[in-house]
């Protein structure tokens, strides 16, 4: 099989490419240049788009003896991921740019191009299992990335290969070390790749400007603080609210209203949400019969919780949570799983939380 290995310059995609070579595939490595202003070696910045990462990816490809190219997708990435990220925050929602990148860049722009160029599949270093066309959680629960892949359709998954899903991150690093890859000890990337300094609020303020508004307590209707822009907040947020309340009880962001620039906060008892509506869903396989019992994960790093999923108005989903959850933010993806402790939880699909 002819496969295209997307190589970020990190350890995961390096090992994924190596395993594809070991499996006897005809592998070509590609590094995606995504940032319109590429960091130079001198700046020392980290992130998936730097010259240093391209170099690291190329070193691994050269050691594997596979062809390696850099594909410039900066324009599409800027439009489909970065601009979308900014627009979503401006609208009071909380987007997941990694999910958006998988949906529109890695498994649309890159996959389409790869197939057109005669490749059979795209290999990535995502921690998720793909068995018989079914997307499942990784063996390594702490590193599982099925959430940000939950948006992929059956057609997209048919062109994807995730060789790392059945191993732990520790094992991935061990393989890299055995092979003498210089990236074996390279730190994991945690930040959003286009915000290498990790200051999301600062990034958004540079793009959107300062737009002060009130922070209002839901119980009393009184203004308990001010903020410099609703884009600095996400529903469920507890820290960094910059408010003064008499009772000293923690407050959570309940809602964000960008038009009036109002951030509404409330106590824990008000922050719970038992029902979630979503935009029209995507499914990783044939659309399931609704209603159904499932588990839903409501953000990238949270546990899945039991729920009942039914068809809602306008083609969306209505998800009733067995227990109310905090931090259900519009714009995040509600990814549905069918629990399976043996083969790994099966990803059914997802819908973007409406609001």
């Amino acid at each position: 099989m002819r496969v295209l290995a997307a190589m970020s310059g990190g350890v995961d995609s390096a090992v994924a490419a190596a395993l594809a070579v070991d499996a006897g595939h005809d592998v070509t490595g590609v590094h995606l240049a995504l940032s319109p202003e590429r960091q130079t070696l001198r700046s020392g910045a980290r992130g998936c788009c730097s010259v240093e990462d391209a170099h690291d990816a190329r070193r691994v490809a050269d050691e594997l003896g596979i062809p390696f190219y850099v594909w410039d997708l900066a324009e599409r990435f800027t439009e489909d991921v970065v601009d979308d990220f900014v627009a979503e925050y401006a609208a009071g929602r909380t987007p997941n740019p990694c999910l958006r990148c998988n949906e529109r860049i890695k498994f649309t722009a890159v996959l389409d191009r790869a197939l057109a160029l005669g490749f059979d599949a795209v290999v990535t270093g995502h921690h998720a299992r793909l068995v018989d066309g079914q997307l499942r959680r990784s063996v390594d629960a702490a590193k599982d990335q099925s959430y940000v892949l939950g948006v992929l359709t059956a057609d997209q998954l048919a062109g994807a290969r995730f060789p790392l899903g059945s191993m732990t991150k520790e094992r991935v690093r061990a393989i890299a070390a055995e092979r003498g890859f210089a990236v074996a000890t390279k730190p994991d990337s945690h930040d959003i790749c286009f915000i290498p300094d990790g200051d999301t609020r600062g990034f958004l303020t540079r793009r959107l400007g300062v737009h002060p508004g009130p922070v209002v307590d839901a119980a009393t209707g009184t203004t308990v603080g001010t903020h410099e822009g609703t884009h600095g907040f996400t529903v469920g947020q507890r820290r960094g609210l910059g408010i003064a309340v008499g009772d000293q009880r923690p407050r959570y962001v309940l809602s964000i209203e960008p038009v009036t620039r109002t951030v509404t906060v409330g106590t824990a008892d008000l922050a719970g949400v038992a029902g979630v509506r979503t935009a029209p869903p995507t499914w990783t396989g044939p659309a399931p019969q609704l209603p159904l019992r499932a588990e839903v994960q409501l953000r990238a790093h949270s546990a899945a919780v039991p729920c009942r999923v039914a068809a809602g108005p306008d083609g969306g989903l209505v998800i009733d949570l067995d227990e109310a959850q905090r931090g259900v933010a519009p714009g995040q993806s509600a990814v549905l799983y069918a629990p399976d402790p043996v083969r790994g939880d099966l990803v059914l699909g997802q819908g973007t939380v409406a609001g």
């Binding site: 391209a54 850099v70 594909w71």
Partner: protein
């Protein structure tokens, strides 16, 4: 493997390898005063004389450098600094926009950091700088530090009439530098006859080693050094002479120049067959640069207007890097032109400079022939080019 990228680098000639191996077996710094040093110095100076003779220069005009990029940097920055020091009004650099990045980026660096102002020359649609265009850009020359126009373009192979350009520059008292990296060994290059003040050449495009080149610099031209130190190379380029590399460079240049006429004729015939074959297989492909039979002043005596080994074609609707990848997978090595340090393919700045539309500039490939090229290489390309272009077009943008 079918190697059609000789303009990037070309195989080291056996006689070069022999000359370098001989020097590597010796001990001696050419600046030392003892017998070993004298032997190294003798080898370096013999090489200097041979190189000068091959290029129509005097030995004292040869400054050995670390290659084309260094020579270009030294010429642009060194002449700018020296000329402005002599007269502070001389802030302007007159440069062709189709230059190699070693010249472009040197000029832009001076503009950004050292008060220079760059005037970009206009080009003919084939990528040539005419004396009229140069005269227009120079004006009365009083505010110009230096001008730089490449002898032959590295991407599209267009040759400019450097002698006419030197006369034009000198008429208003401006020194002319020319990057002749691609020209030496391909077209007649005579430093003295051309009249240029500074000329860049490098070894690895001729069958010599990488990392060895020269700047030919007239004795009466002031040039501020980039590298200070032991005062080697007329005090313009300090650093211990790399005698093995210099020996290899001189042998390569001599061989390339003495065998030029026969080789150029052979490569031009191969190249013509390559272009005709590609155009037959892909009828809407476009040849970039000057016509294949172009002559610099309309006569054979003036020399060719296009490098004999250069074929530069656009395949509208396909992307250059997709074409390159598909050809690479089929064992054919060529180039899209320029790539940034991260390896990202960019629309050719040369095609953009000659006014080509974006699609043409993004869809180009350079095939360049050299000493080891054969009919089989051309046949190998022609056997796959049509399906490769078709597939790349399907991959679209």
């Amino acid at each position: 493997m079918t190697y059609l990228d000789h303009a990037a680098t070309t195989p080291v000639l056996p006689e070069v390898l022999a000359a370098m191996t001989e020097q590597w077996g010796r001990v001696g710094n050419a600046s030392s005063l003892h017998a070993g040093g004298r032997a190294a110095r003798r080898a370096a100076e013999q090489s200097r004389e041979r190189l000068a003779e091959a290029l129509g220069a005097r030995p004292s005009e040869v400054l050995f450098t670390g290659g084309g990029t260094e020579s270009d940097n030294l010429a642009v920055k060194g002449l700018f600094w020296a000329r402005r020091e002599a007269d502070s009004r001389r802030r302007r650099l007159v440069v062709s926009p189709a230059e190699h990045h070693a010249v472009l980026d040197s000029a832009e660096w001076l503009a950004k950091h050292d008060g220079a102002e760059v005037t970009w020359l206009s080009l003919t649609p084939t990528g040539r700088v005419t004396p009229e265009a140069l005269a227009d850009a120079l004006g009365n020359g009083s505010d110009v530090a230096m001008a730089s126009v490449m002898w032959a373009n590295n991407e599209i192979g267009t040759v400019s009439d450097v002698a006419a350009l030197a006369a034009t520059a000198h008429a208003v008292g401006v020194p002319l530098h020319t990057d002749a990296v691609q020209a030496v060994g391909q077209v007649p290059v005579d430093f003295t006859a051309s009249g240029v003040d500074a000329l860049t050449m490098t070894g690895h495009k001729l069958g010599g080693p990488m990392g060895a080149g020269a700047l030919l610099l007239r004795r009466d031209v002031e040039c501020t050094p980039l590298l200070h130190g032991g005062g080697q190379e007329r005090d313009v380029r300090s650093g211990t002479l790399d005698v093995p590399a210099i020996a290899g460079l001189a042998v390569a240049a001599t061989t390339a120049v003495t065998s030029r006429v026969d080789r150029a004729a052979r490569l031009a015939a191969l190249r013509d067959r390559l272009v005709a074959g590609v155009l037959e297989q892909v009828p809407d492909a476009q040849l970039n640069g000057a016509p294949l039979d172009d002559l610099l002043d309309g006569t054979v005596a003036g020399g060719p207007g296009r490098l004999p080994g250069n074929a530069h074609l656009s395949f509208p609707g396909a992307e250059g890097d997709a074409l390159l990848m598909l050809l690479d997978a089929r064992g054919i090595e060529c180039s899209t032109g320029s790539a940034c340090s991260a390896g990202v393919a960019r629309p050719s700045h040369v095609l953009t400079a000659v006014g080509a539309e974006a699609d043409r500039a993004r869809s180009s490939l350079r095939f360049s022939l050299g000493s080891t090229s054969t009919d089989d290489d051309v046949d190998a390309l022609l056997a796959v080019i049509a399906p490769v272009v078709e597939r790349a077009r399907r991959a679209g943008r």
